[in-house]
Amino acid sequence: MSKADNNTSGKQYWKGIEEYEKHPSFEKLKSKEFAEELPKKYNKLTHKEYEKDLPVEKVFDEKTFDLSSDRRSFLKYFGLSVSAATLAACTETPVRKAIPYVIQPEQIRLGIANYYASTLADGGEGYSILVKTREGRPIKIEGNNESPYGRGGTCASGQASVLNLYDKGRLRGPLIDGGSVSWSDLDSEVKSTLNEIQERGGKIRILSNTINSPSTLQVVEQFKSRYEGADVQHIAYDPVSVYAIREANRRSFDREVLPSYNLEDAKMIVGFAADFLGTWISPVDFTKQYMKNRKIRGNETDMSYHVQFETNLSITGSNADRRVTLKPSQYGKALTALYNKIAAKAGVNRIDGEQFELAGNTIEVTAGELWKNRGKSLLLCGSNDVNHQILVNGINKMLGNIGKTVDLDNPSYQKAGNDAQVQSLITEAENGEVDALLILGANPVYQHPAGTRLREAMDNIALTLSTADRLDETAQHTRFVAPDHHFLEAWNDFQPKSNVYTLSQPTISPIFNTRNVSESLLRWADDDREYYEVIRKNWEENMFPRQDEKDRFDFFWVKVVHDGFFAVEKSEASDHEFRADINEAARGALAGSNENGLEICLYEKAGLRDGKHANNPWLQELPDPISKVCWDNYACLSPKFAKENNIKEEDVIRIESGDYAVELPVLLQPGQTYGTIGVALGYGREMDEQAAKVANGIGKNVFPFARVQDGTIRMDQSGIEIENTGNHYRLAKTQTHHNLEGRNIDILRETTIQDIKKNPETAGIEKPYPSHTLYKEWEYNGHHWGMGIDLSACTGCGSCVIACQAENNVPVVGKEEVLRRREMHWIRIDRYYSGDPENPEVLTQPMLCQQCDQAPCENVCPVLAITHSSEGLNQQTYNRCVGTRYCANNCPYKVRRFNWFNYVNSDKFDYNMNNQLGRMALNPDVTVRSRGVMEKCTFCVQTIQEKKLNAKKENRGLRDGEIKTACQSACPADAIVFGDMNDENSEVRKMMDEKRAYEVLEIIGVESSIRYLPKVTNKKHEEA
């Protein structure tokens, strides 16, 4: 290890196992001028194994590249091309039309975006949003800062939801037996069948994902009463369930609710297999709360302490101060041990259970810290085992957290699935007892471990109906399909928490002949009202009386439609008596701890989640925040385990459990618990061919590996058999793609709160080199745009990546092109590991164009396509660029992206941009780049220009915070701050003036406009 490799923090960082182990393939490409693969004939580095038939390379076959020709044919080609060009130039300029509205809607001004308050709801999860529309088309999702629900944060999946609207795989209208019909035909068929069932008193089952819309629930009730006489039951189910929490709370506190967790007041947070910053229940809300005690400025020393126990390396685990790995089968033992340690301190009876401890006395230390922070601590558990959750309740109760950080009096309705009811429904269906099965939006055939059983049973049900927006695994097998609107096309209301009501409103007229699912239920219940009327009436009767601000309902309605939410007073959170039998729970938990061979632990990826939006190319191409792999799921194995079993990265292994088996490529995932396999859900879709051009055939479905035990769905399984098939499969890993050219110096800085306490001035970080420059310094008399990024706040969730993609028309390039290192994201999140590969520390760093003052890219452009602006931006001018790629070569941060193809018009890139419908999501203010052009982050210059003009129009100065880049406004942790560095009072100036703020690669003297704040962690456990 040379000296230059040493970081200022004294740590050695590595981005992947191949770098850690100095794998020859990595070393070879590391120092290459252009690491991207060139067309194969010209690239001697090309691997044999992927010299196979790659679709994109068909463009460049051998013949095309054989440019030798004799004089005659040269003249022929020359003559032909010249005359063709001449002829082409002679054509008349096409006549363009300017077609105005007949009656221009009052609120639409051409070229100016309108924002509508709405709510993102995916199942029960979501947050308040603002929908940016242009000329009547929604094009971007922004957070709603004023709403208590989400508080302005967004997630990757929410940012990408606008693209689902313009998915050409959506159904065009209702279907009966696969044939198109009119809505009236469908309604009469459905109603006559339902009437018949009602007459004979049959069973009607409505299966949906979590519904927390008060009006929809009302409609469901209305439907039930319409078919009185029949046995009508509504069953909610969540693919990734937290039913055990509600059940445990029923047994412990006699309240079957999902509590609201209060992370803001928690000084000590223990996450137990709960990825609450990434995927668990309400990650956006949790991230906002969590970050309140994590961002350290100046001499602040007050910071929360976070310990994470988990199997797979999750976003939450990667951000924890201390992370411990354990197998799913050890959860019960660990929780019991933790209970007993705290019980000892509390003087409560301990429960039976063997002595259990994890590496580094973690349980002991954690118990101590929890006890020290009684009433200000929080234990969150993601296990869906009721016994585990009762133990967690017991611990939180002993710590006095009930009524403080665990709020049972203001419950959350974000997950309302009842695993037991779903299970009994499947049994009923198999017994042939169900007469009608109405599936509202859910996809149980794919998303339930017993999905195949349900599918088979569905053949015997008289009426099967799905309201899926496409022919998914379930809708392909139902007799009727009554496609629902996309949420951006429909009215709806929600009650995500007991004290918050939100509305969502249509932002575009329905694109296809679809119908709101609630309206469908109304029709089948012989009610001709529009769903909008139902919502209004419901709000008039139930919400309006709960406020006294507006005296007339119309005024109140206008206000809630404008705001998008309506919040009422919270009930006072109180302590509750613990009634569950803790010993029985412990016995149950330990009995379930069956350490039996290899274990599989299923997880959700932050982008794709449970796979509902698998056909969204943005989400497919979003690199996983941890593994940095896109376009696939894979089997994560710990490097040590893989080595011992002679398995190498990208080997395809066969994973078998009972009668289900899949073959998946292996990824050596640092931090994966030894003896476990982590596999992501949501892949391996088998939808109709037209419905899922993107999703089908990617990865493997692992829902069948989940098990149902004691009435709950568990996302783990033991006794897994694996076998190396000897095949190989390439994974599109992006992390090692953009190397900062061996300059491993001073990219990252991190420190601990303990160091800050000891040495507030430097916090143990020394500035490595003084900075000098030979170039003339720029003078910025007006604005000087800059950005501050707090590495402590960045969780790596990826919502900024998708927001940037949506805002700046960044194309999707597909797996083959990602393998060639040609992904186009303007902002990437670099993930660095350090320490032990079995349980590394993780640091994520958003990397985007640093808008250097002395920019290396500017000097090398032969055609002046990159120029420096008087406001400090490196301006990339697409229409001037000739594509020499010198700039990308010279960029020390490797943030420039080259358009290898014309992604917008090519059939080979069949994603969102090559069809009329998908192109509706494009931002009309940003040029769509063509082939052969270099592009990069512009600091959202379109927004800068827009807001500057707004200020001029209103005859005022620009306000700080008025301009928000797409990445900034998307960030749920508020890690990114953008503004004018010349404005002394601006937030960004304050961030830049922080003592610890630093530039990446400060030594090379490019004077970037982005300052990073070092990652601060709390190493309490290392304190003597």
Partner: protein, 416 residues
Amino acid sequence: MTLSTKLSSLFIILLLIFQVTSKSSAGHPDPVEGQQIFQSECSLCHAVGSEVLGPDLAAVTERRDEDWLISFIRNSQAMIREGDEQAVEIFEEYNRMVMPAVDFSDDEIRSVLAYIEEETEAMREIVAEETAENGSKAAPAEADQDVFGVSYDTVTVLLSILLALLIVLLLVLIRVHVSVRRMLWDKMHPGEPRPENWITVQNREFIAPLIGFFRLLNPTFAVLGGVLVVTIVVIVILYDTAPYVGSMEGYTPEQPIPFDHQLHAGTHEIDCQYCHTGVEFGKNANMPSLNICMNCHSGIRGNDSPDIQKVVDAYQNDEPIEWIRRHSLADHVYFSHAQHVVAGNIECQTCHGPVEETPRLGQVQNMTMGWCIDCHRETEVDLSNNYYHESFDFHKDHESLTVSQIGGIECSKCHY
């Protein structure tokens, strides 16, 4: 203004003064009083020199006799009822619009007529002046393009004549030369028939050096040199013209409805932004939606004009009118109307030409990037806008700043 126009206008003014004074000395019509009456009572519907609601009153005293006018003005409806032919004709022509009766004395009406006469004269004078001005302007405009005081056209004609003379002279000289040579040959070789190449043989001493020069030249170099010269010429031409390729300057397509900007923006003085509503707010000036047209055209049907009927039909059938777009910037250019109209205080006419004087509007400027840049280099920023006070600290040192000085010609101001 030339001496002759000055003299003529002086003459007219003197004549007017004489007329006015002679009339007022008679104690009867007073144009000043007439003006007051006209402005308070008549100007709502009438004007001199243009049609408002009623007919144009210019030279009305020359068209009709005074008594008829007086009785018509006092009570036109009475005359129409009586069946006066002229009165009925006017009434029908102007959509049976009733002109209210007035209670004026004959003298007062005469005063009004005197005022109208005066206005008519003044108008004629302006027209005469304009014509004279245009005439006098044309001359120096031509005189601008001269060579040592002689205009280009004259020089061209003279040069052409000179060239023709020279060619004729050359032909004559060649003819003379050949005749002399033939005579010489015949004299030196009496009786011999002239060989076919006699003239070449004879002329060797004259032509040989010329042929020799070309023979010495390497043909490859000669061809390459020729190609080089042609290439350079082509490149220079391309370089000069390339920016204008695709420029739609002067593009005035046939529109589905021949909308007349002169009538709307000129004659009726309708504000541009009454129809182009977006111009102050965003990038698009926007084509007016049909409901804006119908604000006026629900009442104004212009003698059942078929074009207005098209507007009405389109509105009633909910079918938008497909106008042909005249201005179309490239997709990679972000042009904001609001930036120019609100922040820049630029008149519409700066880029779109004299809209109010042009019946059929086309693209007036070439709208190339060079044209944009030129304007940005010269145009001064409106520094009174608070934005500059609050966001820029260097405006204090400058009396004025051009757009380019605050970064207005940087790439990312328009291309992103």
